[in-house]
Amino acid sequence: MTTLIKVTFTSTAGEEINGQAQYESMSGLVTLPSRLLELVQRARAAGDGHALVAHEDGYRYPLQPVEDGVYQLDRSRRHRKGVLEQAWKAITAPTKDQRQQSGRFAHTLSAAALIGASGYVGSSRAWTLGAMTDVLSLVGIGAVLFLVGAVLSKGD
């Protein structure tokens, strides 16, 4: 059965172009459309290094040339980012959406700090220096976390 598969062309010239290609699931052969084939030929003519990768179920498969315009999907060299790697990237280099979610988390913590401060004020019987410091710390961190959340939710 012939289906379509997403293919990404990248080259050392800095191009990254996505397209769909015909894919024979039985034989694992991928036939590139003329648009992608032109890019490959142009990269070859210019002496630029290039790579073709097919995407399926979150995996990346390198494509090995069989004949002109026909490539073999190499299932033995499939690659997908592991969960730990994805989690690490989400923490250290979050995408725009992940940054917005972190902003919401900061706003939640800000609300929790302000609610905590209100509860403290309502339930404190003696206003010692320690009690004052606790309330001021909660209010201060609530304000700081609100500002941090606002920066993270900037959205661009």
Binding site: I91, P94, T95, A113, T133, D134, S137, L145, V148
Partner: protein, 31 residues
């Protein structure tokens, strides 16, 4: 006093880390 210090240290650390991750994410993803 203890609660105040705990909140300041934890909240400050979370704020600093989130701001750093935000800058790093914008640098890496160029968006």
């Amino acid at each position: 006093m203890t609660l105040g210090l705990f909140v300041l240290i934890l909240g400050g650390a979370i704020s600093a880390f989130l701001l750093w991750a935000d800058r790093n994410g914008r640098r890496v993803h160029k968006d």
